[in-house]
Symmetry: C2
Subunit: 265 residues, 2 copies
């Protein structure tokens, strides 16, 4: 059985003392450098592999400080503080000694509590009723996702709003886990493209993910489609925001992603 391209992209050599060596892989390239979602996932994977890790992801913030070049990179993951039920991390990803990406993460164990899902998913037809349509071939990473757009498919017409809503899963399908969920929060092309109907210089500066789904929740989800929706609130003097929600077909909020994106034009 061959390795899934996503798992191949997340391969890390463990050098000990919180140090890891990875490399970019062609299937997850973006227009310049690797897809940010996979970079975020690799940072989560580094923590998962760390011998001192406690629990599962609760939150993650990744700051894209500079470009990641194709080729090898180094990760240093440091557990800054470990409490009884949660753990705080700081990570740096560097190439040839230059820091390209920083991140903080909170991992934790979960307990039984009063629970409620207050928000509601967008109302859309089921995944098999929506036609498959992805991003153009030159966006390599997107070819590794099955995308079925209900709203916000990439075109060059411009749009009155920035809302994108689609069913998505890995292609080929792969059981959902925290690393896959991490990457999926970043599958939305920059919302400014949708509003303006054209490609513009744009790139994520900072991505924050809040994880609701536990490992058990994800095991129950399997390789089913995820309902993903995102929108921007404001575009102002070179930066806009983009908030995303990832839902299961049964109406469970799995994770949210909130990012700031740099743009010109």
């Amino acid at each position: 059985m061959s390795t899934h391209p996503f798992d191949d992209a997340l391969e890390l050599e463990q050098l000990g003392d919180g140090r890891f060596r990875g490399r970019t892989t062609a299937p997850y390239n973006n227009m310049v450098g690797p897809f940010g979602g996979v970079t975020a996932a690799i940072l989560v994977r580094a923590i998962e592999l760390h011998p001192d890790r406690l629990g599962d992801p609760v939150s993650l913030t990744v700051n894209f400080a500079g470009p990641v070049a194709e080729g090898p990179f180094d990760i240093h993951a440091r557990p800054v503080r470990t409490n009884r039920s949660n753990q705080h991390w700081y990570l740096e990803l560097s190439q040839d000694g230059t820091i390209a990406t920083t991140a903080t993460a909170v991992f934790g164990t979960r307990r039984e509590t009063w629970d409620d899902i207050e928000s509601a998913p967008p109302v859309v037809p089921s995944a098999d009723e929506v036609e498959r349509a992805g991003l153009p071939d030159f966006i390599a990473w997107a070819q590794n996702y099955e995308m079925r757009f209900h709203a916000g498919a990439l075109d060059e017409t411009g749009s009155a709003d920035s809302v994108a809503t689609l069913w998505v899963r890995d292609s080929p399908p792969r059981p959902l886990d925290h690393v896959a969920l991490t990457s999926m929060t970043d599958i939305f092309y920059p919302r400014v493209f949708q509003r303006r109907g054209q490609y513009l210089p744009a790139g994520t500066i900072s991505l924050t993910i809040h994880y609701f789904a536990t490992a058990e929740d994800l095991a129950a989800h399997g390789d089913a489609h995820v309902l993903a929706t995102a929108h921007a609130r404001r575009f102002h003097r070179g930066y806009f925001d983009q908030s995303a929600e990832l839902w299961s077909a049964s109406g469970e909020l799995l994770a949210t992603g909130h990012q700031v994106v740099y743009y010109k034009g």
Copy 2:
């Protein structure tokens, strides 16, 4: 002219090499330790005071790793990478060598771009039409804010939703700047109290702020009220989220705050 209590709380002694010494102040105490919003603001202030600082805040993530005790604390602020138009920071706040808080921040300069405010503020009466009502006296920090609740005033009845919407400004009034805006993203008491109609053990684990307002925008805002709204999406096994928007009376989105909060019960 006496110093505003907020500015007093943000006083930092500059020790050089990115090191600062501050201390908690009684007016901004929370039930245990200082109000998280002020801790976040102090971290922004440390960057603002750093001689290498470039531009103004674009994003900030603060991870509350452990309690901050009343008394002095140390901050170390490190510019991890400086680009042409933005700068990435990592910060640690510690007491007696134990890390209590970590943060990453992106600062940057702004440029003229195509701009748009896509989201809309909640529709509410003007600030002077809403009665002033705050949090109970034993929540010290809240006495330093003038709060006029349109929805979500703290009571013990429980609520079908977690939406809180209020007009807020510093008390006494103080011109809005990035540090004040930082603190205001955290003025919402834990959304689980509103849903459940009771106090429960709860505390912010991670707070991410995205700044839209530039220094010029804030200068134009002055000491006017801010329209603040927040809600939770999901409460699940010990953690819930809380997303906040801060608006000007003229309908400009000034900043957003997205946090993960730990809870029991």
